[in-house]
Amino acid sequence: METLLFVLFGGTAAVGALAVVLSQNVVRMAFYLVISLGSTAGLFFMLGADFVGATQLLIYVGGTVVLLIFGVMLTASGPFITIKTAPSQVIIASVVGLAFFGVLFLTVLQVDWNANSARLESEYSASSLERIGYNEANVGNTARSLGAAFLGARFDEDLGRDRKELSSGYLLPFEIISVHLLVVLVGAAYLARAKRRVTRIEEE
């Protein structure tokens, strides 16, 4: 069952991504991107990260891609303008891309991940598998733990042990990001504002 789902989501994501690369039409690219990202969200759900998946859907698919399509609409001179890439570049890119993917995939296959994680756990003596909150994360209800972590309390690490003090979470990055978003908001509004021509009053 899980394999089935993985093949479904993973395959869709991969095919979507490839389609994004191969497609020449920007709007179709956006559509394939939606497919790919949505499938990735499905992968996230499978990985027990339901909140991340939902965020992916809401922000990425619902927000960012809409924004991109919006941008396409605002910048395209005609409805189906495609800017073609030179064939030589396509060939070079495909060769390099294949090599790149091969390298990455080789790496993925070559590394003994279990041994690595075992080594890490023995080094840091914090077995992630024994963490209470962590195992619960598989169930898929990570919203509370994530929210608490953003607010500076790590239930997944702190509970179930005899620790008296909470380990620090991500409150500061969270706040920084919020300020960052505000800055982005203002900056984007400034950059994209309509340029008004100054009319000279004295000439009238």
Binding site: L47, T85, L104, N138, V184
Partner: protein, 103 residues
Amino acid sequence: MNEIALEGYLGIGALLFVCGVLCMATKRNGIGVLMGVELVLNGANVNFVAFSKFGTLGLDGQIASMFVIVLAAAEAAVALAIALNFYNNHLTIDVDRANELKG
């Protein structure tokens, strides 16, 4: 039934990543380049979340991916604003035309 191990997710992540890079490298449309960036970030995200489950990252992986998503949205907004500005100045969105800085 075979459990899908870490390698599968990492493979998907790698594929997304490479596709993103290729997208960035081949698309002449500025917005296509942006989409490539999104794909790259997404590939990284898949790795984060996969490690959060199979590796030692725990919740940290999910938190990192959350930050990535949020910052990607911010980046997209700014990049789009830049693209609009570029379009206002050049009446095209072809990134090859943005070569004023060539040596």
